[in-house]
C-alpha cells in the first residue's frame, strides 16, 4: 500500500492504495466519483477520460500512485455549483447523447480539445473535432450531435476566459 494524495475537483484527497490501483478505480471506488465511466477497460473507448494537470487522459490507463501530487478534474468538477459547464449545456441542447454512458468522457475530451485549440490559436473545425474524438466511442448517436454540441460549446467557450473549468 502506498499513500497517494491528489487534488480532485479542487479538494485534496489522500488514500492508502495498492500500487496497481488504476486512476479510474481510485476515483470510482475510493472517492465514489462514479461519473467517470469504465467502458472497455482496454484504453480504446474513452468513457474514462479525466483531466490530469489540465490534460485529457484515460483514467483506466494510469496508475494512481504515479499521480501523487496531481490535479485531477472529473465530470463532477466541471460545473460551477448549479451552473453547468458550457460543454454540458451544449450536449443537452444538441441531444449529444442517448444512453449517456460515453458522455462523461466525451465532455472531458470536448473541453480539453476546445481549450487546446484556443491556446494554440488553431481553428476547431468540424473535421478537427471528428479527428480529436478518435479516442472516444459512442454506440448510440452516430456522433453527429456530439460534433454539433462541441462546435456550439467551442463558440461559447471562446468568449469565456481560458481554462475556467480547470
Amino acid at each position: 500500500m502506498t499513500k497517494v494524495t491528489m487534488t480532485v475537483n479542487g479538494k485534496a484527497q489522500t488514500r492508502d492504495v495498492p500500487d496497481t490501483t488504476l486512476l479510474s478505480d481510485f476515483l470510482r471506488e475510493e472517492l465514489r466519483l462514479t461519473g467517470t465511466h469504465v467502458g472497455c477497460d482496454t484504453s480504446q473507448c474513452g468513457a474514462c477520460v479525466v483531466h490530469v494537470d489540465g490534460r485529457a487522459v484515460k483514467a483506466c490507463t494510469a496508475l494512481a500512485v504515479a499521480l501523487d501530487g496531481a490535479e485531477v478534474t472529473t465530470i463532477e468538477g466541471v460545473a460551477q455549483g448549479k451552473e453547468l459547464h458550457p460543454m454540458q449545456v451544449a450536449f443537452n441542447d444538441h441531444h449529444g447523447l442517448q444512453c449517456g454512458f460515453c458522455t462523461p468522457g466525451m465532455i472531458m475530451t470536448g473541453i480539453d480539445m476546445v481549450e487546446r485549440y484556443k491556446a494554440s490559436g488553431l481553428p476547431l473545425t468540424e473535421e478537427a473535432i471528428r479527428h480529436e474524438l478518435e479516442g472516444n466511442i459512442c454506440r448510440c448517436t452516430g456522433y453527429h450531435n456530439i460534433v454539433r454540441a462541441i462546435e456550439d460549446a467551442a463558440q461559447k467557450m471562446q468568449a469565456a476566459p481560458a481554462a475556467a473549468a480547470e
Partner: protein, 265 residues
C-alpha cells in the same frame, strides 16, 4: 493485474539501481502499452520504475539540424513543439497521428521505441531518419537498435534517455491505420538524408520495422512517386492477421511509399 511495486526515482542512477534490485523489473515511461498489457496479465513486472520524474529525460532541444528528444517526452509534446515542426515536420506529424489525444498526453517516445511494437509509428521514424538511440550507458545507431518484433539491442537494466535526430533534406510518413486502434496496418517513412534515401516500413513486416533496400535504391536514382512502381515487396515477409492479408499489406507498402514520396517536405 498481478501485484507489483511502484518506484519513482528522481535520478538516472536511482532508476538503474531500482531496475537491478528486482528480478523482473520494467521501466514505466507512459504506460499506454505496458498498463493495458499488465491488465490482461500478459506482463507481470515485479517492479515498475517510473522514469518520468527524472529531469534530464524530459524535453526537446533543437540545435541547428539536430533534434534531441528526451525519452519521457510525450507524443503531444513532440507534435506541438515548434522547433520539431520546423526542423523535422514529418516527425511532428507522425507524433500527432499516434493513438488518440488522451494517449498522446501520456505515451512517450522512449516507451514506444523501447517496446518496438511491430505496428508502432515511432520505430519507422527512428529507422527512417537514421536516428541515434541514447541510453544510460551508450549510443546505438537505429540500424543496430531494432532486432525484430518487440526486440531491441537494449541490455537488461539499460534505459533509453533520449533519441537524437538529424534533420533530413525532406521526409514524410504515411500510415494506413487500423481505424479502431489507430496502429499502423502499414506505415512507411521515407527520408532523403545526407547519407542517401532511407525507407522504413512499420506495421507490415512479419518481424517488425524494416528498411526496404529496393525502394531506397530506386528513390536514390529518382526521388519521384513513380520510382516505387517497379519495386518488389515480398509477400512472404509480410504479417498477416484479421486486419490485412500478406498480399494486401505488400500492396499497401508501395501505396504508402508513393504517397510519402509525393508528400515529402
Amino acid at each position: 493485474m498481478y501485484p507489483t511495486t511502484y518506484h519513482k526515482p528522481a535520478s538516472l542512477s536511482d532508476a538503474a539501481a531500482a531496475l537491478s534490485a528486482s528480478d523482473e523489473a520494467m521501466v514505466l515511461a507512459g504506460g499506454q502499452t505496458l498498463l493495458p498489457t499488465m491488465k490482461q496479465r500478459l506482463a507481470s513486472p515485479s517492479a515498475l520504475v517510473d522514469i518520468r520524474a527524472i529531469p534530464e529525460l524530459r524535453g526537446i532541444t533543437v540545435s541547428g539540424a539536430t533534434v534531441t528528444i528526451g525519452a519521457a517526452t510525450t507524443h503531444a509534446e513532440v507534435a506541438g513543439h515548434q522547433g520539431v515542426q520546423q526542423t523535422i515536420p514529418a516527425l511532428a506529424c507522425l507524433a500527432a497521428g499516434i493513438g488518440d489525444p488522451a494517449v498522446r498526453h501520456m505515451g512517450t517516445i522512449g516507451g514506444s521505441v523501447a517496446n518496438n511494437d511491430p505496428a508502432a509509428d515511432y520505430p519507422a521514424a527512428v529507422l527512417g531518419l537514421g536516428a541515434t538511440v541514447v541510453t544510460s550507458t551508450r549510443e546505438i545507431a537505429a540500424d543496430d537498435f531494432f532486432e525484430g518484433m518487440f526486440a531491441t539491442a537494449l541490455e537488461e537494466g539499460e534505459i533509453i534517455t533520449a533519441i537524437r535526430f538529424e534533420a533530413p533534406k525532406r521526409a514524410a510518413y504515411m500510415k494506413f491505420r487500423n481505424p479502431a486502434s489507430r496502429y499502423a496496418i502499414v506505415g512507411v517513412f521515407v527520408a532523403e538524408t545526407a547519407a542517401g534515401v532511407r525507407v522504413a516500413v512499420t506495421g507490415a513486416g512479419a518481424d517488425g520495422v524494416f528498411r526496404h533496400s529496393g525502394m531506397e535504391e530506386a528513390l536514390s536514382a529518382s526521388f519521384a512517386p513513380e520510382a516505387v512502381d517497379g519495386c518488389e515487396v515480398g509477400e512472404g515477409d509480410m504479417a498477416a492477421d484479421i486486419h490485412a492479408s500478406a498480399p494486401y499489406r505488400a500492396h499497401l507498402v508501395k501505396v504508402m511509399a508513393r504517397r510519402a514520396v509525393a508528400g515529402a517536405v
